[in-house]
């Protein structure tokens, strides 16, 4: 491995060669970083700067937009669209919670109880990704169709009375209500919750459970004191991977929702494509980012885990 052995020993030539080698070696990490940094620069940093600039411009499509440092756009966007922000947080938060409640037992089962079925089950978790996001969402329109089997069953069990009173459904239908949007979000983002949970549960040493049993911990105490704390990194990264994209999603609200279930993503899309008000669209994007960042920061502080992986 050393340079001295693979360069022929010529007087006066060996020392500079070693130096060149080691200089090159010092550069290696930077070369390795280069693709990632370039990627981030071109596809993240530059668009961010561009959007930030757009958000403080004024003008129209025909006259062009100029940077006038018009910050009131932010205030106006917030004033006009705060209900959609609230709905976004509510729907994405509820969907994340449902994902956690559904995903944790599933990940636990796959990690500890599945035995040789583990890999099959993992593939099943990922399997929906083999079809298009749109097709999967449209399938929910058929599943939740008015007078369909699911809605009929929910109605017969009087579930719809309860959800109707909460304002989640309307009369005897589920489609075009908040519940449909939340179901769609939960379904579409569930794998993003399960996979990190599984990873962190899977690397818990089984002997810790044995040790807990040896120390007369009840199964509940074992879960509370051993499994849950050790899986916290998975819980945190799972909730982040679910909540952040769910709050930017607009497909579910568009296809499964109605006029009053629109999320902020729909507003941004409308402002950008339909109204052609690029500054408001950009300002809304930044406000969404700020809201998500604040929510996530508060959450991570409360979750009390320092590690994100």
């Amino acid at each position: 491995m050393t340079t001295a052995t693979d360069t022929p020993p010529r007087a006066g030539a060996a020392a500079p060669a070693v130096r060149r080698r080691s200089a090159r070696r010092r550069l290696v990490p930077y070369w390795l970083l280069l693709p990632g940094v370039l990627w981030l620069l071109v596809f993240f940093a530059l668009p961010m700067v561009y959007q930030a600039s757009t958000s403080v411009q004024t003008g129209s499509l025909e006259e062009g937009f100029r940077v006038t440092w018009h910050f009131p756009t932010y205030w106006e966007a917030l004033r006009d669209y705060h209900p959609q922000f609230a709905k976004t947080l509510l729907y994405a938060g509820t969907a994340t919670l449902l994902c956690l409640l559904l995903g944790y037992p599933l990940a636990y089962l796959i990690a500890f109880r599945a035995g040789r079925w583990r890999h099959v089950l993992l593939v099943l978790v990922i399997a929906p990704f083999f079809t298009s996001f749109l097709i999967r969402t449209l399938a929910w329109k058929t599943i939740l169709a008015d007078g369909g089997a699911v809605v009929g069953a929910l109605d017969a069990l009087h579930v719809l009375d309860v959800t109707g009173r909460l304002g989640w459904t309307e009369g005897d239908r589920v489609l075009a209500t908040p519940l449909a949007v939340i179901c769609g979000l939960t379904y579409n983002f569930l794998p993003f919750m399960i996979l990190p949970l599984y990873t962190s549960l899977e690397r818990i040493d089984g002997r810790l459970h044995e040790a807990a049993r040896d120390l007369y911990a009840s199964p509940a105490a074992t879960f509370r004191k051993v499994t849950l704390p050790l899986s916290m990194p998975g819980v945190v990264s799972g909730t982040l991977l679910t909540f952040i994209p769910a709050s930017g999603d607009y497909v579910n609200a568009e296809l499964l929702g109605s006029t009053d279930t629109k999320m902020i993503g729909n507003v941004i899309q409308g402002q950008f494509l339909r109204v052609l008000d690029y500054p408001t669209a950009a300002a809304l994007s930044f406000l969404l980012m700020a809201v998500v960042l604040v929510t996530v920061t508060v959450y991570i502080r409360r979750a009390g885990t320092e590690d994100l992986v």
Partner: protein, 464 residues
């Protein structure tokens, strides 16, 4: 019995991880305890060790494992909350610095500029972008007979792409290239009239040469001859006409006919099963007609009144959704009892589902067109013009209309269409008779400021 309780054991007395002395020893692990050191001072020295709780694979040496652990949890590269926040802060600051350098230049091109060179003679091809399912197909759905016949006759190869699904999205897609004065790679595009009007207004469409369009000029139906947004059809020719009418699923309405916007908005028996279109001009235009106003002369006050009427429908939950083409599936299933619909879709839908009916309101209905344009920068304008002209030959137009069922903008196709299917030639949705045509109205063209204001109000109405 152990001397310590489970709690005490996990929090206080468990073995510390000793990085230096692990070699050769069996693994030591720490069970994490309660995470509130303040309440139990004894736990404090353990804090660092508590972070080292991950499972390490056996194949690594003890030293390697220790290094990996350090790098993940407390090295410079550790991905922690703090480092993440610090990094985002730095990014935000750096971004602010670059802000003022940007801006979006005016979209309008002053004058027409030098006409792009036409390569039609040298390059015998034309690239045509159209909506999905908007051209005739052969029985096996593999070939496009009218396009193939065009190529056989003229030797011009057609690259036909179905890449238009939505007007606003398509505009967003081609806008950057057109604004920069570049070729979009398309010689002919098909967009709805209001977008065609915008593209022409912005100077992004090439002027057509009437000398290359003798058939189209002669055969264009009179009702399409004088749009206020393109006098004399200098830039555009219609591909199809679109009639916006009311559709209902007779099974879902219990056999009742639905034939007015008033009924859509006020009939309590349709509550929650009514949809309007997400195209602003169709929805507002039909509402205006119902209120006795002419969408061809709409004022801001009329517009606000129509929006107010629709808003009431949204607030009382009478209106379920504002839809694009996807109303067809919902109407077929009966999730929607009645809605605004495009006539061409209805003829196809009725073939599959006899419950679907349509009605032309007594107050009138809205017509629009999908128009063919040659975008600025296109390299094969003459070839594109020859293609337009070809589709205005009655036999070709009849074949197209018989397949896609939209309003045919070509005069003199009735005989040709009757030869393909007599029922179709009699269908007033494809070939409107005088009485039907008299009820049709078009939405007037809007200037840029009006369009933005109207679209913004409409966007607020539909919640996006």
């Amino acid at each position: 019995m152990p001397t310590y309780s489970f709690e005490e054991y996990t929090q206080v007395t468990h073995v510390m991880h000793d990085d230096a002395a692990v070699a050769g020893k069996d693994r030591h692990r720490t069970i994490p305890g309660d995470r509130q050191p303040a309440a139990r001072p004894a736990a404090r020295p353990l804090r660092k060790a508590q972070r080292m709780e991950q499972y390490e694979p056996d194949s690594l040496s003890a030293a390697q494992r220790a290094a990996m652990r350090r790098s993940l949890t407390n090295g410079r590269a550790a991905l922690t909350r703090r480092s993440l926040l610090r990094a985002s802060g730095a990014l935000a600051l750096g971004g602010l610095a670059g802000l003022s350098g940007c801006g979006i230049p005016p979209a309008r091109r002053e004058g027409q500029g030098p006409a792009p060179t036409d390569h039609s003679a040298a390059e015998k091809r034309v690239a045509f972008s159209n909506w999905t399912q908007y051209i005739d197909l052969s029985e096996d759905e593999k070939r496009r007979p009218t396009l193939e016949a065009f190529t056989r006759r003229t030797g011009i190869a057609v690259t036909y792409t179905e890449d238009i699904n939505d007007n606003v999205e398509f505009f967003g897609k081609i806008k950057p290239q057109l604004a920069a004065g570049q070729d979009t790679g398309r010689d002919l595009i098909c967009v709805t009239d209001w977008l065609a009007a915008r593209i022409i207004r912005l100077g992004w469409a090439q002027k057509l040469d009437p000398a290359n369009l003798p058939t189209a000029y002669a055969n264009l139906a009179p009702q399409f001859r004088r749009p206020d947004w393109d006098p004399g059809r200098a830039h555009s020719y219609p591909w199809t006409g679109i009639s916006t009418v009311i559709a209902y699923n007779a099974k879902a309405t219990g056999g009742r006919r639905v034939d007015s916007v008033t009924q859509l908005l006020d009939d309590p028996r349709l509550k929650g099963r009514v949809a309007f279109l997400s195209e602003m001009r169709d929805t507002v235009g039909m509402t205006l007609l119902d209120m006795g106003k002419d969408p061809g002369k709409v004022t801001a006050a009329d517009y606000d009144a129509a929006i107010g009427r629709l808003r009431k429908g949204v607030e009382t939950r009478q209106i379920r959704r504002f839809t694009g083409n996807d109303y067809t599936a919902d109407l077929g299933k009966g999730d929607l009892a009645a809605c605004l619909a495009w006539a061409g879709d209805l003829i196809q839908l009725q073939a599959d589902n006899p419950d679907v009916k349509f009605a032309i309101p007594a107050a009138g209905y809205l017509t629009s067109t999908d128009d063919l344009l040659v975008p600025a920068g296109a390299r094969h304008k003459t070839n594109a013009e020859r293609l337009i002209d070809y589709y205005y030959e009655p036999p070709v137009a009849a074949r197209l209309a018989a397949y896609i069922n939209y309003v045919c903008p070509v005069e003199g196709v009735r005989g040709e269409l009757a030869r393909i299917d007599p029922a179709m030639a009699a269908n007033t949705l494809i070939l409107p008779d005088r009485a039907t045509a008299a009820k049709s109205h078009a939405f007037r063209s809007l200037d840029s400021a009006e369009e933005t204001a109207f679209e913004e109000k409409f966007a607020k109405l539909i919640g996006a």
